[in-house]
Amino acid sequence: MPEKESSVPPPGADTPSERYYRELLGKNFLRLALTYLAPLILLTVYFTLQYRAVSREGRRLHLRSVAEHQANMMDLFLSERVVNLANLIDDPKLPLPPTSGLMEALLNRLQKNSPSFVDVGFFDSTGIQRAYAGPLPYLENRNYSHEAWFISLRSGEENFIITDVYLGLRQQPHFTLAVRRIIGGQYFVLRATLDPKSITDYLHSLGESRNTAFSIVNRSGTLQLATPEIGTPMQASPLVPPVSPRIGDQRVRRGHQKVDYAYAWMRTAGWGVVVRDIEGENGVPLLGNLFGVMAFSLAPILVVLSIIVFRSKKLVQMQIERETAKAQFEHAAKLASVGELSAGIAHEINNPLAIISEEVGLIRDLMNPEFKMHTTFDDLIPHLDNIREAVYRCRDITRKLLSFVRKDAIHLKPHDVNQLLDDVVDGLLIREMAVSNIQIVKNYSCELPSIVTDANQLTQVLLNILNNAADAIEPPGAITIATSCASGWLSVAIADTGKGITQEMMGRIFLPFYTTKEVGKGTGLGLSVSYGIVKSLGGDILVESIPGKGSVFTVRLPVS
C-alpha cells in the first residue's frame, strides 16, 4: 500500500504562505524604516552633536568671562588693599616709627576696610620690624632683610609688592602686601599680611562663581587660593595655564576625562585665575540636557516607528490582495479567451449534437411501422455507432476546455512544447480553422529540448496568440507555427497572413483592455495577460508585423 501523503504540516512548521507573509512584512518594514527612520535618526544625531558643540562653546565662553571677571575683581581687591596700606603710611600725622599702640589702631583701620588683613608691621631700611600689631607679637624686632619680598621691594621699580602665598616664619599660608616710602630721606616699609582663605570666601560671595570651581595659581603653577574641591594653597595646581595669552581657555585630558577650563592672568600680582565647572569634569548638566534632546527626538522616532509597523502590515495586506486580484484577473482573462473561442466551440459541439439528433430521428423512422422499412438490428448498428462517436466528440471538446479553464495551481514540469502546441491546435482549433478556411502549417523542429514550465499557462498564451492570428485573417489564409531552439532559448513563432498591425497600434497591443475587435467580442486582456505570463516564466514575446501582409508573434522561453 502506498504511503499516504501528509497534508497537515508538522507542528511548529510554517505554511509557505505564512513564511511568505513574514518575509514580505520584513522587507516592507526594512524599506519603510530605511526611508523614514534613517533620515530622522541622522537628523537626531546631527542635532545632538550640534547641540553639544553649541552648549560647550557657550560653556567655554561663560567660563572665560567668569575667569576674566574674577581676575578683574582680584585686581580691584588687591589694588584697594595696597591703597589701604599706602593711605596709612602717607598720613603725615603718622609718627615714625609708630608706637605699638598706634599699630593696633592702624590694624583696626585696615581690618575695617577688609577683614582679610591679619597683621601689620613697620620696617626701617635695615629690614628690622620696628613695630607690629597682630596675632604674632613675637615677630616684632625680627630681621626681614633676607626675606625675598623685602629684597624684591627694595630693588623693584614699583613702590609696592604683592607676594605669592608662602608659609614664612609663622608656618601658615599667607601672603604679604608691602609699600615702601622714603620719608625725610629715610627708607620705610609698611607691610601687612593677608589670609588667603578670606579672599576665597570673598570671591565665593561674589556669586559669579556658582557651579564653578576656581583657583589662583602663580606663574610656577603653585596654588595660591583655591576652593576646597581643587586643593589647598601651596599645593601644585592640577591645571597650569599658559602665560600667554592673558585670557584663554583650554581643554586638557586628566586621566579618562577631558576638562574644560578658562583662565585670566591678573595685572596687580603674578597670579592667574583658573575657572572650571564644578559638577563632574565635563559638565553633568550638559549630559542632562543631552538626554533631554535625545528624549525629545526619540519621541517622534517612536511615533514614526509605530506608523511604519502599521504601514508595513497594511502594505503586506495590500500586496497580498493585489496578488490575489492578479491571479483572479489572469483567470478571468483565461475565461475571456475561452469566451472568444465560444462561437467556434458552439459550432464544434452543435455539429455532433445535430448528428445525434438526426440519427435518433432516423432510427425512429426506420422502426416506424408507418414507413414499412422492415429494418433489422444490423441496419441500426452504423447509426448507433455514429451516435456513440458523436457523443465522444462532444466529450473530448468539453474535457479539453475544462482542463484549460480549470484554476490550477502552477505546476512546473518538463514539457514538450511541440506536444503542447498539438494539444491546442488539434484539440481545440483545427476544425474551427478548417471551416474558417484557415490552413495551419506546422513547422516544428524535431530537436526541441523539453522545458520546465507550467503547461496550463503556456497553453493559455499559445491559444491566445493563435486566436488572435485567426481573427486577423480574412479567409482564406494560413497560420504557420514554427518551433526552434538556439543559444539557450526556445522559440515558438506564430505567423499569420492577416491584416497586420499598424505602427500606432504596435505600442498598445500589450496594454490591458486594448482591443481591435468589435464591442463584446474581445476583452483586450489576452495579450496583456499572455505577456505577464511569459515574463513570469522568464521569457519574452516579440512581435513583427507588416500591415496588410501579416504578423509574427514569437514566444521565447529559456531552456534551462
Binding site: 459550432h347 459541439i349 445535430a354 448528428i355 438526426e358 430521428g361 462517436e389
Partner: protein, 162 residues
C-alpha cells in the same frame, strides 16, 4: 403522384448529411447531397432545385458564398441556412443576402419540415406572382404593334421562364 420536391443539402459533416437526407427521402422528398460549396454550385448548374439547405461554415467555399451564387443563378430557389454557429448576426446577414430562413443545429425534424413548407410556399408565391406579371404583359402586347413584332416579344417572355 406527381414530381417530388427537389431539395439540395450542403454540409461538410457527412454523417449528418446521410441521415438527414435519408429521413427526408423517407418522407418523399427528392434529396441531392453535396459535401462542399463547389460541388453544390456545380450540381445546381446541371439540375434544377426547388429548395436548398445550406451549412454556413464549411471548408473551401463557405455557405454565404454558395448562397449568393444560388440566388443569382436561380430565380425561384429558396435557401435555408443550417449551422451550429448560433448567433443572431449571421442569421440577419444571411436573410439580407436572400436566404429564406435560418435554423440552428440541432433542431427537431418538425421545425425543419415547417420551414421547408414555408419556403416552398414563398417560392410558389413568387413564381405565380411572376407568372401573373407575364400574363399582364402578354395582354398588353396583344394590342399594339405588328404581328411579327408581338411574336418576337412573346418569344422573349417565354425565354425568361427558367
Amino acid at each position: 403522384m406527381s414530381e417530388a420536391i427537389k431539395l439540395l443539402i450542403v454540409d461538410d459533416e457527412i454523417k449528418y448529411l446521410e441521415s438527414i437526407a435519408k429521413r427526408l427521402e423517407i418522407r418523399g422528398l427528392e434529396v441531392t447531397k453535396a459535401t462542399n460549396g463547389q460541388e453544390a454550385v456545380a450540381l445546381a448548374r446541371s439540375r434544377k432545385f426547388d429548395l436548398a439547405l445550406l451549412d454556413l461554415k464549411m471548408p473551401g467555399m463557405n455557405g454565404r458564398q454558395v448562397l449568393e451564387i444560388l440566388k443569382k443563378e436561380h430565380k425561384f430557389i429558396e435557401v435555408i441556412i443550417l449551422t451550429g454557429h448560433g448567433s443572431l448576426e449571421s442569421a440577419v446577414e444571411c436573410t439580407k443576402l436572400g436566404a429564406f430562413g435560418y435554423l440552428p443545429k440541432p433542431y427537431e425534424l418538425e421545425q425543419l419540415l415547417d420551414i421547408l413548407k414555408d419556403a416552398y410556399q414563398a417560392r410558389l408565391r413568387n413564381k405565380f406572382e411572376a407568372d401573373r406579371e407575364k400574363t399582364d404583359r402578354i395582354l398588353q402586347l396583344a394590342t399594339g404593334s405588328s404581328a411579327l413584332g408581338i411574336l418576337r416579344e412573346l418569344r422573349r417572355l417565354d425565354d425568361e421562364e427558367k
